[in-house]
Amino acid sequence: MTKSFDKTEWGLMVALPVLICLIFVLPAWVVNYVQVSLGTGLVALGVTIQMRAGLVSFGQGLFFCVGGYSAGLAGKFLGISDVFLLLVLGLVSGILISFVLGFLLRRYREIFFAMLSLAVSMILFGLLSSTEELGSTDGFNLPQATYFGWAPEGDTGKTMLYAVTCVVTVIWAIALNRILRSPLGYINEAIRENELRVEYLGTSARQAVHVTYVIAAAVSATGGVLWAMALGHVDPEMTNWTTSGQFVFVSILAGTGNIVAPLIGTFILEIVRVYAVEVSPNTWQMILGTLMLLTIVFLPKGLWSLMNTAKKKTGTVPAAEAVAGE
């Protein structure tokens, strides 16, 4: 079974070269938004997979920040600038911290999970904001990325980082898609729907939640590293609740139906914001809010449901509602 890829995974693999080639086709500023959207999109992905288990993390910025700061600190104090090493570092820190925190958080559900995850992320925000050695709320800058000793400059450097971002994102998306189809994915679906029954089927819901929490942290930390490398700067705002809130909103807005949805949703929301600011720099929040409301009213299952609706209209057989693993 492990050898077979499902259609989502094939789609992702086909999409990868297309995604990378965008850098040669699209204007650089759009590619820029694509790149940062992939970084933050990974965090939204982390939020999404927890949402499949019914858990809404209002503190996912914590791991976004852990990833970014791991890379930043390694760059600042250890002089490491190798992207792959920094990715591993970010990943490991995210996993370690989430593993420990998981023992506390796995006991919570619903709003209590949301608020406790928020509290933990805000404690980190407070700590970083009072650490003057790390630039406090101003944060600090990261070194230029290198690749196994190779340090490309200018456009080559940009292209390289973009390509790495795309590859890592697609690998994560495929891995997460796999996880959603795995027993863990099904257990999570079941936890969301009826945790009592999960226990009565002989499995520990808490353990599954813990594992999911760690996976979500790992993908978010990866996103943090990639985002920070693209930006060249980190600051505690990464773990502020407003940042975490945006990840949640992207996830809901995009829909949890497919692993690709949060990635695309992040980009769309970003572009909508850019144009809202351009059209009306003083009241862009109002435009954004109105668009959100309209989306919820007309697409309660998120933007992704637009895809399904389009399909249904063209006459494809509408199968049963989404199950895990799509």
Binding site: T8, D138, I264, P281, K311
Partner: protein, 441 residues
Amino acid sequence: MASANKGARARAARSSRNILMAATALGLAASFVAAGSAQAQEEPVKIGLVTFLSGGAAGPFGVPARNAAELVIGAINAGSLPAPYDSAGFAGRQIETIFVDENSKQKNADFQKLVEKDGVDMVLGYISSSSCKAIAPEAEKAEKLTILFDCGTPQIFEEIVTDPKYTFRTGAHATMDNVAAARYLVDTGVKTGSYAGINQNYAFGQDSWRDFSASMAQVDGEATIATEQFPKIYAGQYGSEISALLTSKPDVIHSSFWGGDMEAFVIQGSARGVFERSKVVLTTGETAMHRLGAQMPDGTVIGARGPHGDLAPESDLNDWFRKAYFDRFGTLPTYPSYKMAQALLGVKAAADKAGSADQDAVIGALKGLEWEGPSGKVSMALANGHQAIQGTAYGTYKFDKETGKAALVDVVRYDAECVNPPAGMNSIDWIESGFEGAKCE
């Protein structure tokens, strides 16, 4: 069972189609987005202006700065400024603006968008130091003239971009606000036996307190710290902090609060007699003095982060600026407005001097330039001609009950060399060295 498999297959097929559709949609959206970018611009100089237009910093900083930009750019285009800025445009070219909200998570991408899609000739803006730290390297990479007009951290050219080519900062950095505050207390004979601080718990507040307390240690070695309060930014409620200040009975209280926080502190503190028991120094107090009027207690030491606002020296330009701003917006301009005007006039001076508004010409002329802003002389003396220095001033608040007008008395001006570290020296080291090489009158 067969149907279950069929369902699964249908689902899978649908989802792969969905990905393709999504990719197509993404491509379409992106090319649609890109379509707008290829427009050529000929005549006007396009400036991307970035300030806070939403969030807590919009009211006190972002919007006054935006207002000043609209006012000054309008006047430059019309050629209606007093001499020497009475020619129209930047070296004859009209100015077009595009505003962007600094309150964004993707500041760098927003910057790139301004540069590439909107094709601006320069970017002018950035209030928060965090933005400046992120944008300065981006500007150098994009090779686009970028003028930071307000942010205060000394790190920009000391650590982040040590060899700037495209980045300029037309405002002095924040060290002088607090060095001058300490000097002012001593110069006006205030008792400084013990002092306390209440500053917002973020980089600017922490830096301000660090610089101020280090300076106090220099100007009055005997002075002791009574309490250090660091409430959260935008907290609004300072009951506990005020009690702590009252119980620790300091002679002097230092605060770099700004905007709504500062005004709330003045209201809550003055009601409970903090200002009577201690001498309070508000390094950004100028922005609130006209709004608070009688509510700001007499005797409060007021700064404006430079010789701006009520601390600006008299000149035709300043008179014009104050009158025109008041006529248009109904309030007097505060220091963010002054700093914005200063930046725009610096660029105009450079463009006029070079006789061209092209990027290279402006950069060449702006380097090391000296010009007169509404707050007096500014010179790009540091960081190889990319960082401005400017004197500063402090005054003591006095409210005239008869006329209902707020004013500053006992104004003391400090030369740039007196309150700023010399080129190449880190600000805190400089303070701790006893202001080595400072030239004060």
